[in-house]
């Protein structure tokens, strides 16, 4: 009797442990730690300008973002902060081609009375930019501009066997293409008639 009770208790504890393992997610501490890539990202996203006029820098940045098709969603002048977004199609030929070939190769599944596989492709994306201007010295004669681009992508529908894959699956990523940042700063530099210095 006592032994049985012990077994039940031990079993219960193990089961509870397993359940907890399913529920509790790891919260890695490194999200708040600088990584080896941080300085290079910072260098890519930052330029500084020899100007006293932070407001002018900010409004020129807003104008450049508008030129690039962004809608400004939020702005705080005291903090030198801008957030802008734009929505565009996320269709890429590469994905359509791989979708076609996977469909073609999996069409052999018809022989075992299974429909071919249709993989979902990226359909729609929302590209966003956050921009911060900041004085670099006490006299406020030099200001840095840091911009970060990121995007959220929505996938279209597909199917595997008789199971449909519903549209709307979402994926998020930072945009780390240096060319995009270079283009942005080139336009900004032209807009404020000042040279943009890299860090």
């Amino acid at each position: 009797m006592t032994k049985g009770r012990w077994e039940t208790m031990v079993g219960g504890v193990i089961l509870a442990g397993h359940l907890m393992g399913c529920v509790a997610q790891t919260q890695p501490a490194e999200f708040f730690q600088l990584t080896a890539e941080s300085p290079s990202h910072r260098a890519m996203q930052t330029r500084f300008f020899e100007t006293k006029d932070e407001a002018e820098l900010l409004s020129a940045s807003a104008a450049v973002l508008q030129d690039l098709g962004f809608q400004v969603e939020e702005s705080v002048r005291d903090m030198g902060f801008l957030r802008a977004t734009k929505e565009r199609s996320a269709r890429e030929h590469g994905q359509d081609i791989s979708r076609f070939f996977i469909f073609l190769f999996s069409s052999a599944l018809v022989l075992v009375q299974q429909p071919p596989i249709v993989i979902p492709v990226d359909l729609h994306q929302k590209i966003a930019a956050t921009l911060i201007t900041r004085p670099l010295n006490q006299e406020k004669t030099r200001h840095e501009v840091r911009v970060m681009f990121y995007r959220v992508i929505w996938k279209g529908n597909g199917s595997v066997g008789n199971q449909p894959i519903l549209p709307g699956e979402q994926r998020m990523e930072m945009v780390r293409d240096p060319v995009l940042y270079q283009t942005f700063f080139a336009k900004l530099s032209k807009a404020v008639f000042l040279e943009a210095f890299a860090l």
């Binding site: 997610q25 919260q27 501490a29 708040f32 941080s38 705080v76 903090m79 990121y150 994926r171 930072m174």
Partner: protein
């Protein structure tokens, strides 16, 4: 003799079940200390807060923003008059998870600022002190750079 013991056990079980059911029916009474600060709350608050030798709130906030950007966070909102910064980032390389943080900067005394950070992981609060230690370590570096 034996059957009577069994009956007693059954009756006991039934009574226990009744009690549970009755309790389930009755509206739970809010306890007196529902909104009172608990010890755990005080502990997490002390982990999330740190005080800095800074006179200017704007300098402190710009330091906070720079630190968050260095950590790869996207600034979502900033409010100068309330000393409030909200930011988020994707839990790379897992692009479906989000880490969010709200930082408040409040003047504590003459020449001192209290900076408090609340971080969440997929809408669940992060209570691991290590996370906040890492954040404040980065912030200290950033504030030091701003002062230069």
């Amino acid at each position: 003799m034996k059957p009577s013991v069994a009956w007693g056990e059954i009756a006991g079980c039934l009574l226990a079940a009744m009690l549970v059911m009755v309790q389930g029916c009755a509206a739970p009474q809010p306890s007196q200390d529902l909104l009172a600060p608990t010890e755990a709350q005080m502990k997490i608050r002390s982990v999330q807060s740190r005080s800095f030798d800074l006179a200017d709130r704007q300098v402190a906030m710009r330091g906070v923003i720079a630190a968050l950007q260095d950590l790869g966070f996207i600034i979502e909102r900033a409010n100068e008059s309330l000393g409030l910064v909200t930011a988020a980032r994707f839990a790379e390389p897992r692009f479906y998870d989000v880490v969010g943080i709200t930082v408040t900067v409040r003047p504590e005394a003459e020449g001192r600022m209290t900076i408090r950070a609340n971080a969440i992981y997929n809408n669940k609060p992060i209570e691991d002190p290590k996370v906040y230690q890492n954040f404040f370590a980065t912030l200290e570096r950033s504030l030091f750079l701003v002062k230069e």
